[in-house]
Point group: D2
Chain length 341, copies 4
C-alpha cells in the first residue's frame, strides 16, 4: 500500500524538527516535503545533523503532491497559510494556536489581532484525542493543543468531568526551555536559564483561555475559575503541571486513583502513576504520566501530570491526531519508550 | 576588639560548609572550630578545596573556647548535642528542625520520635529576623527556619498579617538539589535529576507544620489551611515559591505591591521586585526577592518569592541571627552580591 | 519466523536498562529475561517507568530458554557468570571489560586480579564491527569495547592503519556522567558535577591497554605510545574524544577527509562530519560522528569523534554485534535518529 | 583616604558586569561610572538585579572624574576608545584583545583588520601578574590576558621556563558558555548547549598567537609549536586546560610537583593541587588551581589547570592588575572564596 505523503510547514523550529524525527520513522507515511524560509535550499541534515538519514531538502513552498500537512508556523501566519490547503481538501494538523479557540473574539482578545479566517474555526477539531477522539477522527482540520493545556486538561479531566471539584483551580506548571522556541534570545541563553527558576506571564498566559474553553466543554455546568502560572526550569524538554482543586465530595485517595484508572483505562498514552512522576521518564515519548492524590488536611485534590512538551505536548500529539484522521493505528510511529537517563 | 570565637558542628554537609564560607569572611567573628565525625583529622581545605585559605582542621569535638555555636547536625541529634551547650550558657543557632516547632507533640507527630529536650522548646526563638527580630535579639537559642518556610512566610506575611487572605493557601515550591543534602543517593545523582522535574512529599512535608505555626503566630485569628507541595528542579541552589491565596478585600496589584514595600521598607535583605524574580539573582547572597501580584480574573493573590536555599534559607540567615544575638550590624558578613551568571 | 529469545544479565545499571530499551524495539528478537539481584521480584516498569510497556519481571537468574545473552555485570563477575553459558553454546555479548584484553597478564595488571577464565580469552572477538566485522560474525563470545576506546579507535583507525601517524598519540576525552554508572556516589551527585569539569585517572585508565592492543592489531608495525586523559563534563550522555597525532606524510585536510570518507564509506553508523561534531546530535542513537582535520601550523592530525556512550559506546554496539552474530540486518533495532534537542 | 574613582566601559556583557560585582566590594576604589550604549539611562540594578545595591545609572559616556578605567569593549572598538584616555594619562586595563599582541602585523593577521593605534602596543604591559608583575606595576596601560591563555600559560610556565619541554605542546581546553559572551545566539542557547560538548576553532583560535608570544617571552630559546583546541561544555563558568608536552629531562612526578610549588610559592592566587582540580572549586574566585603530573608510560608532562573564566580569566585578573598599578594590596577585593556547590 502506498504510504501517505506528508509535509511539514516550517521545519526549522523545535516543533517542526521533532515532527520530522517522528514522521521519518512512521510506518504508514512518507515525509516528502519540509519547508523553512530562512534555510530554504539546504539539506535537512545540514541544519539538523541527527536527521541526515532523511533524504530531504528544505524548500520555500510545500510540494504540491503532499496529502497531509503539519503546520509549525507561528500563530496568525499559520491560519493564513493553511486556509487555502483546507479549501483544497488537504487534511491538516495545525500546531499553532490559530484554531484552538472556538471564539474569534476570544482569539482577538488574547492574540491582539483579528483572526485571519474565522469561518474555519467551527470546522476545526480540538486535537486532544483522549478527550475529543470522535471529532478528531472525522475532522479535516485539527488544532493541536498547547503543551500546557495538554498537561493540565489530562490531569484535571477525570475529576472535573465527574463534578468532583469546585470551580476554583490552581495550575502551577514547570516547563523546559524548548517550549520557548529555537530563536535565540537572552531569555533562553544557557547562562541565563541554567541554575535558574522563574515564573512568567502572571498577567495571563495565552494558554489560559484554551484551558477554560475545554474545561467548560467537558462539564458545561460549572464555570471554571483557573489561576494558571507557568514557570521555566533549566532543562530542555518536559512539562510538569501541579493542579490544585477543592474536592466537593468525600473520597479517599485510592478511590480517586481508581476513577482516574477507569477514566483512562483504554488510553495507550496515559499512565496513572503510583508515585509522583518524573519528566525524565517521558523524554522523547508520547506518554503522559498522571498522579492524582488528595491532601487530606485541606480536602484538596492535587494532580501532578507530566509529559514531553515537544512530543505529547506538540509533535507526538499531532501525529496521534493524524493517525486518527487517516485511520492508522493510533500509536503508529509513537511507540518508542522514553530516553532514560 | 577581640572577635567572637565561633564554631560549626558538622561542617561537612552543604549547610555546614556554607556556614564556613560565610563565617570565614565575617568581620566580627573568628571561625575557630569545625567538627565532622567522618572527616575528623583532615584539613578543611582537603575536603573542600575552595576553603583551603581557612587554616582549620576538622575535629570530632568542638573546641571548648568557642563562644558561639552553629549546629548543622540532623534533627534529633542536634538537640541532644546542643542541650549541654545551652545549659552552659553558650549562644547557639540550630540549623536543624529541632527547635522550630513549639509543640513537642507536633514534633513527635512529624518527626516520628519524642523530642529529646522538650524543656528547651519554650526558650528557643524562631529565627526569621524579618518577622521575629525582637525575640531573636534577646535569645540564647535560635531555631533557624527551614528553607521552604523562609521563602513561603516572607512571601505571605504582609498579606496574611493584614488579614487580606482567606484561610486556604497553596504553596508550590521549587527547590534546587542542594536542599536534599550532600549524602550520595540515587535521588540526587546527576543522571537522575538533570533534565527532570518532580514533585515530592505530597502526603505532607515536615516544613508544613512550621509554616502553619508561624502563620498562626502572625495572625492568630485565622487558622491557615495550607497545601504545600515541594518540587525538585535541576539546579544546585535556589528556591522559588509560588504562593496562591484568595483575596477577601478588593485592592489593585499596585496597592498590594505598596503594602509589601511598606511592610519590608527597612529590611536590608528583602527586595520587592517589579517583575517575577529569578533564583539566579540570589545565588550565594542572603537576599530574598518577592513579587506580589493579583490575578484579576480569579481575585487571587499570587506571590512569588525566591532565595538561595543555602544562604537566606540556611547559613546566611543563621549568621543574620547571630548578628542580632551578638549585637553586630545585621548585615555583617552578608553583603556580597549574588554571583551572576 | 520465531524471534530469537534474548536475556540481559544485570539490567539495573545504565547499560543494562539501555539494552532493555533498545531490545524491546528490536524487530528480530524477543527480550524474555532480565536479571538484577537487588531488584529481583520487581516489575521492570516499577524500577524504570519508561519501560513499563515491556511486560517483564526482574529475576535473580536468567530464564533457561534464553538463546542469546548480554551481560552488563561488572568485570570479574561477568566472566565467571558467562563461562558456563558459553560452555553450553549460548551466544554472548559481554559488555564488561573481561574479554576485551587478549592477554591475561595485561588483564591482571590493570584489573588487579587474575582473569577468572583465561582459556576463553582466545575465543572472544573484540566487538568493534567497523574494524573487526569478520571475526564478530563468526564468534560465539564477543567482548563489547569500552566507550572511550570505541570513540578513540574509530577516530584514529583510518590514519593509523594507513601509517600516517607517528607513534605518539594524545587522546583527550570528555564524557557525560552516565559513564560512571548508576550507583550513587559523591562523584556523580548533581551538586558536585554540575558546573564542573575535571580530569581523572591521570595515572592510567583501564581503557588505555585496550586502545593500545587494538591500535597494534590495526597496524602491527608501529608501537603506539598513547597518552589518554578522560574528563567528566556535566551532561548525562555522550563522549567526545579529541585525538592528536603527528603526521608523517604531507597531505591536505581535504585529502585526509577523503581518506576517512573512503575508509568508512559503507558504514551505516559512521558519519564523517563537515564541521566539529556535537555530542547532542548522537543522543540515543548508535551513530559515531567523526571530524578529521589538520593543524597546518604544527603538522598535527586532529580528529574529533563523538558518540552516545550508552549506545554506540555500550548497548547499541552490543546489539550491532548481536545482529552480526545472528545474521540480522546490521542496523536492525538501531535506526532511530538521535533525540534533539 | 579618598578611594580611587574607577569606571567600566561597557558594563553590560558578562565581563563588564563581573567587574561591577567585584569593584563594588573593593575596599580601595569607588565604582562611579559604568557605560553601555544600548542600556544607557537605565539603573544598573534594573538590568542586573543582583547589583541593585550599587547606586549607579548606566550612561553612554564615562564620567570625566574617573581616575582608572576598565574597558570591556569588543576588540578594535576598545583600542580606539581607550587611546585618548591613555593620552590624557588615565590608567587603563583593557580586557579586550587589542593590546595583548606586541606585533601589529600579527594582530592584523588574526583579527582581520589593521590595529587602530599600533603606537600604543609598545607601552602596554601583558597583564598576567604571576609572570609579568614588574612591568604591570609600572604600566599605565595593561592588556588583560585572554581566559584560555591565562589558564594555559600558568599551567605551562614553570616547566617551560625551566626548559623541561620539547617545543611541541598540545593544549586541550574546556570552557563554560559565559566565555561566548552575553549576546544571544543559537550557539549559546540552553537547548543547544546543554547535554552537549563540542570542539571549535580548529583552524586556529585567536588566543593561539597570544600563547605563543608569551611562551616565547618566557623562554626565548625555544620556539613553541602549540596545538590549541578549545571546547565548549555545558556550564556557565570555568575553564579547564589539559596541557600535554614531551619531557626532555628525566624527573619524577613528585620532583615536578615541587618545581611547580617553588615556582609559585609566593603567589596568593595559585594553588598547586594534590589531585586533578575541579572548575567548581574556582567559581566566583580569582584562584587558579594547577595539577602537574607525568605520564610515565610516554614520558609526557600533563598539566591540568582550572580557573573561573570571568574572574581569573577576566574581571578578577583585571582588578589584580589594577591593584598592582595603584599600589594596593594585590589581593584587595579578591579574597572571597569560591561558591560551592
Amino acid at each position: 500500500m502506498a504510504r501517505t505523503r506528508v509535509g511539514i510547514i516550517n521545519v526549522t523550529g523545535y516543533t517542526g524538527v521533532e515532527l520530522a524525527r517522528l514522521l521519518g520513522q512512521h510506518p504508514d507515511v512518507e515525509l516528502v516535503s519540509v519547508t523553512g524560509r530562512s534555510m530554504a535550499g539546504k539539506r535537512l541534515g545540514q541544519v539538523f545533523p541527527h536527521l541526515s538519514q532523511l533524504d530531504l531538502t528544505i524548500t520555500e513552498e510545500l510540494d504540491s503532491s503532499v496529502e497531509f500537512v503539519f503546520s509549525a508556523l507561528p500563530h496568525g501566519e499559520s491560519a493564513t497559510r493553511l486556509a487555502p490547503l483546507v479549501g483544497r481538501g488537504v487534511a491538516v494538523v495545525d500546531l499553532s494556536a490559530d484554531f484552538r479557540l472556538k471564539s474569534a473574539a476570544v482569539y482577538a482578545e488574547w492574540y491582539g489581532t483579528a483572526h485571519p479566517v474565522p469561518e474555519l474555526l467551527k470546522e476545526a477539531a480540538y486535537g486532544l484525542p483522549e478527550l475529543n477522539r470522535t471529532a478528531i477522527t472525522s475532522a479535516r482540520l485539527v488544532a493541536n493543543p498547547g503543551c500546557y493545556p495538554t498537561s493540565a486538561l489530562l490531569a484535571l479531566a477525570p475529576a472535573w468531568r465527574e463534578g468532583l471539584l469546585d470551580s476554583d483551580i490552581v495550575i502551577d506548571s514547570k516547563s523546559g526551555i524548548s517550549g520557548s522556541g529555537r530563536s535565540p534570545s537572552l531569555d533562553t541563553s544557557f547562562c541565563e536559564v541554567s541554575e535558574d527558576v522563574t515564573a512568567y506571564a502572571l498577567a495571563g498566559h495565552r494558554h489560559l483561555p484554551e484551558i477554560n474553553q475545554e474545561l467548560t466543554r467537558l462539564e458545561p455546568k460549572i464555570t471554571p475559575r483557573v489561576c494558571f502560572v507557568p514557570h521555566l526550569v533549566p532543562m530542555s524538554r518536559g512539562i510538569l503541571s501541579t493542579c490544585y482543586g477543592k474536592l466537593n465530595k468525600k473520597l479517599t485517595a485510592e478511590e480517586l486513583r481508581q476513577r482516574y484508572v477507569d477514566f483512562y483505562w483504554n488510553e495507550p498514552f496515559i499512565k496513572i502513576s503510583q508515585s509522583p512522576p518524573h519528566t525524565r521518564d517521558t523524554q522523547g515519548s508520547n506518554v503522559c504520566l498522571i498522579y492524582p492524590t488528595i491532601d487530606e488536611r485541606t480536602s484538596r485534590l492535587i494532580v501532578v501530570s507530566c509529559l514531553d512538551n515537544l512530543v505529547k505536548g506538540a509533535a507526538g500529539q499531532a501525529i496521534q491526531n493524524m493517525n486518527l484522521m487517516l485511520g492508522f493505528r493510533e500509536t503508529a510511529g509513537l511507540e518508542a519508550p522514553a530516553l532514560y537517563p
